[in-house]
């Protein structure tokens, strides 16, 4: 009854002040985790590390050309969750995923699906900038080269240039493309990693706390970049900074101890949360 009421209230798109929030004891997702015409869908996703259940029955959609932010206290499973979206969890010993995750209607955990192809469609940017210890050019060119996306040196050069331009790094590095990528500053390295991710033209980009190792200036540049990238890609971003989530995202999902507690439009989640736990978190009562 309560659930229905809330769904109705968010459905109206104009955040009305909810007088009575959902109690802390309720572990069901409130808000609307689903969108029309989604890029990715997750249904009843559970993740286990050995016997420990790290993600509990999460259902969530990722829309087209939107930035969806994952927030929540440390250890709430938000990083674990986005690593399911490109099957990065496969590399972790003893990690098991159940439920269904689809990309453009196809189940990515299907036995027939090639994980290499999936990762070409769902790119990832990590917490710590991790360029290959190779030249800037090679960092970008590596992905297209192994996937055979280009057939000539000229096309590759162009792709590298375009990727760096999209990542807003071109002007800073165009004269030193053949110097090591590890010689760049932290913020530049992270933009290099973003350029590397978009060089293979993915549909979705996952970002796992991309700014946590950066200073405010570099963070501002990356946030602007994320906003621009939304034109072409769906972006899922995990962040510890609520300001960042409110600045860059259209929708926000709040995780707590493996449960997806609340999903909604970013403006609504931060101004008028439906769940007491969400309110506690965004008002700084914990986390």
């Amino acid at each position: 009854m309560e659930q229905a009421l809330i769904r109705e209230s968010t459905g109206r798109q104009s955040p009305t002040l909810v007088s009575r929030r959902v109690s802390r004891d309720n572990r069901q997702t409130v808000g609307d985790p689903f969108v029309a015409d989604p890029r990715m869908t997750c249904r009843n996703v559970n993740v286990y590390y050995g016997d420990k259940r790290a993600i509990k029955n999460v259902s969530l959609d990722v829309g087209r050309n939107e930035v969806i932010a994952m927030i929540g206290p440390s250890g709430c499973g938000k990083s674990t969750f986005i690593r399911c979206l490109n099957r990065m969890n496969d590399t972790i010993e003893g990690c098991r995923v159940t439920g269904e995750i689809t990309l453009d209607g196809q189940n990515i955990y299907d036995s027939g699906l090639d994980v290499v192809a999936l990762r070409a469609q769902v790119g990832m940017v990590f917490q710590k900038p991790n360029p290959f210890p190779k030249s800037i050019y090679e960092n970008i060119a590596y992905g297209p080269r192994i996937h055979g996306l280009v057939d000539s040196k000229a096309a590759l050069d162009e792709l590298v240039e375009n990727s760096l331009k999209k990542a807003g790094l071109w002007d800073e590095v165009k004269d030193r493309l053949h110097e090591p990528g590890t010689g760049l500053s932290g913020g530049q390295q992270q933009r290099l990693c973003i350029a590397r991710a978009i060089a293979v033209s993915p549909e979705v980009i996952l970002m796992d706390e991309p700014c946590s190792a950066l200073d405010p200036m570099a963070t501002a540049i990356i946030e602007d970049l994320i906003d621009e990238l939304r034109q072409h890609y769906s972006i899922v971003i995990v962040t510890h900074s609520m300001q960042q989530a409110s600045r860059v995202s259209q929708r926000t999902a709040f995780f707590h101890l493996g449960d997806l507690i609340e999903v909604g439009a970013t403006s609504q989640v931060f101004t008028n949360p439906l769940h007491e736990l969400t309110e506690d978190y965004i008002t700084g009562r914990f986390g």
């Binding site: 590399t91 990762r119 290959f132 590596y142 192994i146």
Partner: protein, 426 residues
Amino acid sequence: MTPNANGSPRTIDIVNRSLARRYLSERRFRMCGLAAITASLLFLCVLLFTIGKNGYTAFQQTVIRLDVHFDEEQFSSQDLNALDYQDLIRSSLQRLFPEVEDRSEQRMLRALVSSGAAFQLQESVAQDPSFIGKTIPLWFPASDEVDMVMKGHFKRTAPEEERPINDLQLQWIDRLAAENRIAFRFNKGFFTSGDSREPELAGIWGATTGSFFTLLVTLVLSFPIGVASAVYLEEFAPRNRLTDLIEVNINNLAAVPSIVFGLLGLSVFLNFFQMPRSAPVVGGLVLTLMTFPTIIIAGRAALKSVPPSIREAALGVGASKMQTVVHHVLPLAFPGILTGTIIGMARALGETAPLLMIGMVAFIVDIPRGFTDPSTALPVQIYLWADSPERAFVEKTSAAIMVLLAFMILMNSAAIYLRKRFERRW
């Protein structure tokens, strides 16, 4: 000491009281470290000094000049190889010491010159036939006893019966020296010839080539096996009971006494597969068994030290597991693997025990030309010479040790250089 407002002593006072003790223990610890390093350096210096002192004379050799008359008549018809070159040496000595007529004294006189002189003579005539018909002054290696006297290893003052050289021979030596017919030369033969029963003719080239062939087999086999195993175990294999068991066994294998590998080589390679005895190929196989666990362990450590973020980066752009390993992980781990390999090879170079079991301890004069020729190895040569009774082999032993150590230092410096050269920071 000023107590706090609440009466308890201030932290700074407590800290100050314990500071002296802390610094003292720190100083003590540093002294211990320094003492340990000094002690080990001291032992090393004593070892190197002893070897150097005993061995440096082996790089020199006493030579005697004889005027050899190549009689035209003698050389005219016959085959050069069939001549009695020993007789040429004998007559040259005879002309120098015409007063020696007694047969046993003549024999003592001939003993001054190495038995290898005849071969040397034969070679020089074959090289330069223009000698024929002339009397040419030529330098020949002295026998090892003369060599030892000249180098001062035999005391002239000792009673005659305790000396391998008697008073008469000493007189002859002195006369030769007075006539400038005795000199020291650089001992080229030590580096170019094989083993010999005569210390003055024995060299390490045979053992060095034997070691080279053996190590080549070892490298060619153990490097691919070791690297492939390390990569598979570290990057691909699942972690379960079986891989744990394999890991324990590899670590065990690295610690098995090498003589056991020798016995294994003897029973499997020689007895079962009927491979040739004393051959570098078998030595290489046995040393491979010993070396590849070291390479696996070093390789795994090197692979482990590659940060996981690099693997994630590669997987994140869609590289397959194999591409991730070959394009990114392996190149970054390569310096470490290389260092492990070189250290393993250096250990294999110094290994003696397993080679004894497969017959590489035989006395072999010829320089081995291939992997199946009978040969010996440097450390085994040292063992053989150390076991020989002649005084002159003492300096040969030390000299061979110096050569072996030089190779070791070379290999280990190469390891350090390569590591520094290819090391990447991230």
